[in-house]
Subunit: 390 residues, 3 copies
Amino acid sequence: MSMTLELTEQPEISADVSVDLDRTRQPQYGRYLDELEPGQVFEHPRGFTFDTGNMLNFARTYMQTNPLYLNAQYARAHGFADLPASPQMVFNVTLSLGVQNDSEKAIANLGYYQVQFLRPVYPGDTLRAFTKVLERKDRGPDKPGITRIRTVGVNQRDEVVLQYERKIMVGWRGERLPTTPAPQVQVAFPGEDNPCVELPLVQSAVSPGLTGPNTYYEDFAPGDIIVHANGRTITEEHMALTYMVGNSHPLHFDRIFSSGLSGKMSGEPIDYGGLVFAWLDGLASRDVSENAVWELGFTEGYHTQPAFAGDTIGALSRVLAVQDAPGAEHLGIITLQLIGVKNISAAAALKQHGADLFLKEDAKRALGKEKITDKIFEIERRLLVKRRPA
Amino acid sequence: MSMTLELTEQPEISADVSVDLDRTRQPQYGRYLDELEPGQVFEHPRGFTFDTGNMLNFARTYMQTNPLYLNAQYARAHGFADLPASPQMVFNVTLSLGVQNDSEKAIANLGYYQVQFLRPVYPGDTLRAFTKVLERKDRGPDKPGITRIRTVGVNQRDEVVLQYERKIMVGWRGERLPTTPAPQVQVAFPGEDNPCVELPLVQSAVSPGLTGPNTYYEDFAPGDIIVHANGRTITEEHMALTYMVGNSHPLHFDRIFSSGLSGKMSGEPIDYGGLVFAWLDGLASRDVSENAVWELGFTEGYHTQPAFAGDTIGALSRVLAVQDAPGAEHLGIITLQLIGVKNISAAAALKQHGADLFLKEDAKRALGKEKITDKIFEIERRLLVKRRPA
Amino acid sequence: MSMTLELTEQPEISADVSVDLDRTRQPQYGRYLDELEPGQVFEHPRGFTFDTGNMLNFARTYMQTNPLYLNAQYARAHGFADLPASPQMVFNVTLSLGVQNDSEKAIANLGYYQVQFLRPVYPGDTLRAFTKVLERKDRGPDKPGITRIRTVGVNQRDEVVLQYERKIMVGWRGERLPTTPAPQVQVAFPGEDNPCVELPLVQSAVSPGLTGPNTYYEDFAPGDIIVHANGRTITEEHMALTYMVGNSHPLHFDRIFSSGLSGKMSGEPIDYGGLVFAWLDGLASRDVSENAVWELGFTEGYHTQPAFAGDTIGALSRVLAVQDAPGAEHLGIITLQLIGVKNISAAAALKQHGADLFLKEDAKRALGKEKITDKIFEIERRLLVKRRPA
């Protein structure tokens, strides 16, 4: 069925409609602390369709080196149905889908927890996201508080592809304009309590030349520290890249907003942390993950300092554990700590700060240590990695 | 049938060909006022193939929030054959296809008139464009004059997808180098005199959570003023984005050209106006158009001040009219005025300038009012919008 | 076959793994002069999958005007199976695939030689690359030397699509960290000794309006000098674009690396030369190559000065030869010299430097002439071009 509309010549009419300033509204997005109730479930707007071009683009922009995300022939040879989206893209898109509702009014992103990748995302897939409010900690009226939320990304078959928790710091609404009304009808929250990942079990016959010789499971032992040689200078590109994944927080692309803030956030737009993490992951990738077949997830992660256009970032990894992969003799699991620094090379940062670089920033006060101001990120991650072919 | 060419080793030969500076030519593109004749029809070079990746890219870069342009599943649920290109992309591409012939020698783009969107553009479609010279107003030899032109964009089935008029200010050629010769054979002009748009009539069963709760037809009443919260800082990205849609005017990406101009245009490359309009549309979209199923067109629009890399732009909308959509009970038509400002937030601009912000800049002299220098754009547009689901 | 892994809640473990700085490694990529042996063959990592979106993106970013790379309908009408990747994209990607092994430790890229395009690359194709070390010229221990290498790009059917030679200047490893080990098993080198290109032989019925009227074979005569009107200001975009084609040399995107160098390379990241060449080719294209159906190759080419973010580049072409295309009466071959300049318009550069602009920079010392510091590039190229339709 279809409708037909005539497109006739239109006269201008604005001069005929008198301006009444009392009829002004200024819609607000995000939620203030007093607008969030534990148990609430939000379905996020938009959705995000993945396509081959932008998946390749994302992997290349963030300096990914695992051929799984760059080379469709390689991905298929490993049993994947097509080129899978890089985990960083799936994570960034899902985080961004939630911003307009969850965190466009947030003051700070405090951390990522128990991030789990459950299924591949392929070209043509469309992700939607849902958030459940788990907890809300008030520190009294008009004082910013902390909310803990759980978010899932689902594909067009309603299968969960990613789930995680976040803590965010949010201000009290007080006298400010209300945000868009919460939905009246409660929707079901699709998070999985006993998540599993099902992966193709193919010992690929691809040429071993497509990945480096030193990044198989056997090349990692607990305690190994790996300094990643190259850094990346972030340019003003970060503003466009923020919206490319759908993140609508003006802190990242609206200089009038960012310079109008009070306190230490005031100034140039701050790089969206998800992009910084993606670059750090990419800078590390040729040394630690180019032979990975799956990113199992991130345990806990923190942006400990912001980054801005003009900053050059670098990365270090430390091996925390290695273990067999149940049911897959040709694979193993490695657990890594990933550390990011800025405006100092990774090698110089290690020389200057030594073991303290790998200490959680939040643990330093109790140990009587100073925070490291050129350290920008810390996270633990687990990868499923190929063993060296016979 | 095919041909086979041997690729043999080539010697360098440049040293053997003597340099004769009298053999120099400097091809020129665009048309001067004295090179344009009313009735002339030009077929524009190149053509432009649309693909899913760049359509999604465009929608995301320009901060579009209507899922119709971001979510292929949503688009199909509304009866579209696939993800349609956003109207701003179709408009920008068609404008740009015409630049090399119509306006690469233009001094100023004076306005858009009766822009009409006739058909969706889908991935795989290839657009070409044609322009007919309607009018030419000379103000005497050697003085810049104004030409009125009509342009259409057609797809690979020769169906019109877009048509509009523009007025541009163009200089007199005089002693300058001639431009590429006009075609000898007159081509037919494919513009439609009684344009209609045929749209799928599907009351989608998609989750209402994919769009906001406050942007249905019922949410708009004539006189409503809507201040869009976020702004966008434009970076030097605009130079690359200009060529990404195929616009070849050096004013937008060649600093030697732009800084070599005389008068008030001299200096940094100026943002191509089509990009500025696309961002303003995107900034407004979550408040006014995320539930739209079609952009019917733009009545008249003007770039009243240029924008440059480093500027932060903001947007306001005003509802001018609401009316039923003939033959579609679940839809309605809203007419909006869209206003752009720069280097001031939309809220601050409204506070400072009040009702004058909505007055056409060209009308101000007659009213004894000053032009608003931080206002950059004004247009009237009509949208076909969903009514709130029962 | 597949495997299932449970994703259980993970505790943080970094605090339990003591930090031992003696366990640090810093993997290095590229090869030092003393690590290269004539006869060695390297298979390059990653591979690169082409898709329609990024092929169109590349052509548009670098200002290509030949509809063959912009308009899928036009490409098919000329007998191509689909939109072919632009030669500049195939060249840039193949060069970049080789960087991590061949030139990430290079001090300078000295030149391109006998670049030959053998087959079209279509959406969905995946390229890999191989390099053979041809020659190594030492100038004594610890002094940088020159290596001559041969590289081929092959598609997923192991067909060669591109091959060329390069000379690069590389330092001696000496006391520095070793790079990743060379492969133990020698791989075969797929270069073709008697290369041919097989092309569709279709006299297209497309509208002649899709290309300009002045760029057919008959429009070129040996000695013609063509000044390309527009320039392009390169922004910091070049850092992202470098990785978009997969080039991993930190000189182009890591300010800590580039500013830490000694000598005249020290400072801001230098534009990757392949991108500069692509822009120069694009700036020239509407005057010389928009009616080309194949780029046969580049004879010799040199980047004679570096370019940086902020520079504006321009281009000139000179016709060196015209000849019949064996077996194709509707086509001809033109040989062109392409010259790049920066921070001066092409027209002004010709006025200032005259015939010397077309003299190879390396030949100048012998002639008692100064090098031209605002000249950045010189190359000879051969194009297969349509004759003017009857």
